[in-house]
Symmetry: C2
């Protein structure tokens, strides 16, 4: 995709941007504030800019008269960049030019690391767990009337070097008719064992040659969200992806409350049914989006934290929440997906990711495997941020892990207008440091419905840096803007007025929202600090940081460090992998190498229980500030704040 | 058990009999006819005898006056022998003494061969497929909080020399609570693989030490009858046994008609459900009779012919009845019994006996294994007689087999008053050669309800030898007895008049009944002849004959040879094993040695399709007579008939 240069005047700030992107995205990336509160749908009409030179695709709208259009005025949110341009922000939008250079920092583009399937194949790591073999059999005769199954198995042994082969009863039921459907030409679907000394298993047969169609589902069962991917096992590509809120949310927002519900009469079965229903909705959407024949899906690889895994499998998680925090099992055998209640063909095998401990589950193992961290030389800090945050430190030689409960804030839970990172969620935010008017962008550039996790972090960080909130997360009551107000005894900031939203009420950020975020980020930060201490390292020793989590790919790294969510580190060291659990599940559905390695990894990973580590609580309490009680832990932020204070003092002539 | 000598006058025939047996049984065994038509319940009052000396336990009855009792009269059916006795048959019962010595032949007592469990153990053949292991685990602690499953598996590996262990999901679900029920003292139920290189599997756990309770079910699914045995895996004993008619009978009496029904829309599922229902009734009865806790039953070993096996497993048998007669599979993996619809605990494993071909199924393999024929030096003829007759010839070096359809006559099917060998079935029969009055005995010595297979054979053989029927099985219309009559155009013999039965109508034997028996015995005889010919042997080469089948233990060998059911052979060579299929299933539930060997046996057994062997039809047509068109094939019967003819001619002064 071609790039264009966008220069903003009077700031004289330039940014490179993809062709076709909007001017408002360019402004956001450049750290240039433009008032805009409708999310990019052209409704508020506040983001007027003047195009001084260059190619812009845009149109007259109800918010822009023909006269203004001819003068060069455009709505930044509706203007698509088609060449290098120079844009002037009108005076009305730039109240105080002196604040320009400290108003924001350019957005750090997330470097999403994606698995390279071809590289996998070249490295000989491509050992598909589900393989299709096509055979042409001799039809039976009076002198050769061995059973149909024996005919198939013998042929596979003689001509395809198969050794030990098992069969399931459903496949035995199918073989006689399927064999005769296309004149004894038949494709066998063979499940490969993880270890060579175990048996392969014929799990399905199809008439004729169907070796060009072989699919798998990768599934991440999160406490808050469930994501599924339909993977083409021949090309390695994800054909479709879909996510839904986990239906269990109504029974408790975090794993502890879910476990408590599961301990009630009928609670376990209810929670199991509810998560199965959600998964079936995800499967249904994947099916509709992909048009893949369900008969050609052969496996579903499932990664989830220990509690989610046990609830899904109907294994009571009661001992997970009681000292000494013992999970029922860390390994599960291959299971029949249909018998688990999943709407998949009867032959589909469910492969469940192993767990390490009660609070370091299959989702994190999946991410550690999928990210390749366990095969890397680099000393790596891996953080998977969701309702629970799991933290792993190590490399190919050793791994240590821990987990803490972050609460659902990062996934939109516990936030008054919180929502998942989907269409209409505010994901980016800037504030005018004088008028305190906002610039917002939503996912899908539509009018806002709420605030997602990454938006929340950006919002709080920006407000903190501009002095709208203090280090305890309380609003400055004396800024003289109507956007900061007290409603029902709670202080809040109005991000978007009701008439510019999709929900007919003000989108607000409240002090309790900020409190929740501070507790969540405090838990993650202190988890990192504690684990680093336990293994005798500091953040400076870390060569690579991998951020995973449903909202990881949207997060603004600088902002996250500003609020003290992550230890301050060089942005170049950081990689985002998005949903690491889903990524590992996908990779595991492609190769048995991962399934083989995972056993070793889970065995060698050292687990630290934070509840057994006294220093954790001290770190946590110290982290319940923006960014931290000890600002010296964030030297770059400290420098910026000093600079900003100096600028203010200079302006005020102090 | 002590034996007593019973001498009958005026015949002066003596017989040894178990203490406590009745005089009528003694008479039957001695070949002495006493009129008796109520089955031994003391109702008809016809079996009056005079005790001349010795100890008899008997009483006055409504059929015996006090005066007669004091004169020494007794009812033979109600008189139990308690010492050596001399008994006189009153003149009224012995119309023609000259016929005495040819009236019948002494009954050949069946030598039932039973498996010796201790011998099995001594020979090192006792490798139980389901083993219980008791362990006392260390409770988890903060420094040792591995998962519950890992704790159990690790302990078993370290302290019990277990190697590869798999677990099922249901057992994982149980482990956490069961472990904590008795302070981490727990019994694991381990399923052993047939081969050493495969994995053992923990299929259940129980709190505390339950190693003294370990049971299995052995099940024979016959076309007509289904038998189950509850086996104590520690003592090797059958704790309870129960049989029922296979509910599928209403959908066709033989396998071919069942297969045809299964090919109809919904037919397969209907037949599967019906047989599952019958099995569940059998299981329920075993449960009630044994009082064994269902949780302590760990396996069910199932033997059945190929069609019965496929119908039970829901595998469509359509290709079994079409040339080239191909079964779906000859091997089935261990299955979950509950998933097959059986009312057994969720952990119970169903082990299905392998088949050889479409018409030599798991029932016959089971019998060949259970009888030990496959490990014997002796050249053996094994015949399993049921609705289908399977014939195996060979020894430890080679085995050849075939199968023919005998129809349901031997199991009481297709016979007007036919019934299974259960209480009230006429199982023994004698006829007065002058008055043609019968002596009958029923199972349980109660009034008759019908005729079972062994009774039918004895009846037809006796009638044939006394000239009541001819070699075509037609009644001699000129005998002047009201018992032979024509009803609805069909000739029949009244065995018991309605008022002496349990069913309020005459128990009769009809000419169509005899026709059915002749066709059945003809099929078996010609099957034996054809297979002998195919392997180049004659009956004289055979060193051992094993008779199996639901009614095998009741059969009178001489009578069976008289009607040409079996080739004439030395009675000493013959062993009855009863339900060989059930016996093999029981033995297989006790030791994996059998399950290991069975694979080899099924692979090396040569199968002959009678439909592909032209001489079979010739043999069959020749065998549709009593005993056969060629009487020279039955030299001993020929001699007896010659002798009888001479006696008659002498008496008539010819």
């Amino acid at each position: 995709m071609s790039k264009h240069k966008v220069t903003f005047l009077p700031h004289n700030t330039a940014v490179e941007i993809d062709s076709g992107e909007t001017l408002i995205r360019a402004a956001m990336d450049a750290g240039v504030h433009v008032n805009a509160s409708c999310g990019g749908e052209g409704v508020c009409g506040k983001c007027r800019v003047i195009v001084e030179s260059g190619d812009i695709k845009g149109d007259v709208s109800s918010m822009l008269s023909k006269e203004d259009f001819e003068k060069g005025y455009r709505l930044a949110c509706l203007s698509k960049v088609e060449g290098d341009v120079v844009v002037r922000i009108p005076t009305e939008s730039v109240v105080d030019a002196s604040a320009l250079n400290t108003a924001g920092s350019p957005r750090k583009t997330a470097r999403i690391k994606e698995m390279d399937f071809n590289q996998l194949r070249e490295q000989g790591l491509f050992l598909p767990p589900m393989e299709k073999v096509y055979v042409e059999l001799e039809p039976p005769s009076a002198s050769d009337n061995i059973s149909d199954v024996t005919r198939l198995v013998t042929h596979l042994k003689l001509h395809h070097n198969e050794k030990k082969l098992q069969l399931t009863l459903p496949v035995i039921r199918k073989i006689p008719d399927v064999m005769r459907e296309k004149d004894f030409k038949i494709t066998a679907v063979i499940e490969r064992p993880v270890r060579d000394d175990s048996k392969s298993r014929i799990i399905n047969v199809q008439a004729g040659d169907t070796t060009d169609r072989n699919y798998a589902i990768a599934l991440d069962i999160g406490t808050t969200t469930i994501y599924g991917q339909l993977v083409n096992l021949i090309t390695g590509e994800a054909v479709a992806q879909y996510g839904e809120f986990n239906g269990q949310i109504s029974y408790g927002e975090d794993v502890i409350s879910r476990i408590m519900y599961a301990e009630k009469e009928g609670g376990l079965e209810r929670l199991r049914q509810v998560v199965v229903d959600t998964i079936n909705r995800v499967l249904d959407k994947l099916d509709k989006r992909s048009k893949v024949n369900p008969e050609d899906i052969n496996s579903i690889t499932i990664a989830g934290n220990t509690t989610m895994t046990q609830l899904f499998l109907g294994v009571n998680p009661r001992y997970i929440r009681r000292a000494p925090y013992v999970p029922a099992s860390t390994l599960y055998p291959p299971l029949n997906a249909e018998s688990l209640g999943l709407n998949l063909a009867p032959h589909v095998i469910a492969l469940v990711f192993p767990q390490v401990s009660s609070y370091v589950g299959g989702d994190i193992v999946s991410g550690v495997m999928g990210s390749g961290m366990y095969r890397s030389d680099k000393l790596t800090l891996y953080i998977d941020i969701g309702t629970n945050a799991e933290i792993v430190i190590g490399n190919k030689d050793w791994l240590a892990c821990t987990a803490c409960s972050a609460g659902p804030a990062f996934e939109g839970g516990g936030i008054k207008l919180g929502m998942r990172a989907s269409k209409g969620a505010i994901e980016d935010f800037s504030i005018d440091p004088v008028t305190y008017e906002p610039m917002i962008m939503t996912i899908g550039n539509v009018r806002p419905k709420g605030i997602c996790g990454s938006g929340l972090i950006t919002m709080v960080a920006t407000m903190f840096e501009t002095g709208v909130i203090d280090s305890r997360g309380k609003f400055n009551r004396d800024l003289g803007t109507s956007r900061i107000r007290k409603t029902d005894d709670i202080w809040e900031y109005v991000v978007t007025w009701a008439h510019e939203t999709q929900i007919d009420r003000d989108v607000v950020l409240t002090e309790p929202d900020i409190d929740n975020l501070i507790r969540a980020k405090g838990a993650v930060y202190s988890g990192c600090q504690t684990l680093l201490e336990e293994v005798g390292l500091t953040i400076q020793d870390i060569e690579q940081v991998i951020l995973a989590g449903g909202f990881g790919s949207y997060i603004d790294l600088d902002k996250a460090m500003t609020i003290g969510f992550l230890p301050e580190t060089d942005a170049d060291k950081v990689t985002f992998i998005g949903n690491g659990s889903l990524m590992g599940a996908k990779m595991s559905s492609l190769t048995n190498r991962l399934r083989n390695d995972v056993g070793e990894v889970t065995k060698t990973m050292t687990n630290f229980e934070l509840s057994e580590t006294p220093s954790y609580m001290d770190h946590y309490i110290a982290a319940l500030f923006l960014p931290h009680t000890d600002l010296n832990l964030f030297p770059r932020l400290k420098a910026r704040m000093d600079e900003r204070r100096a600028a203010r003092q200079q302006k005020q002539g102090i």
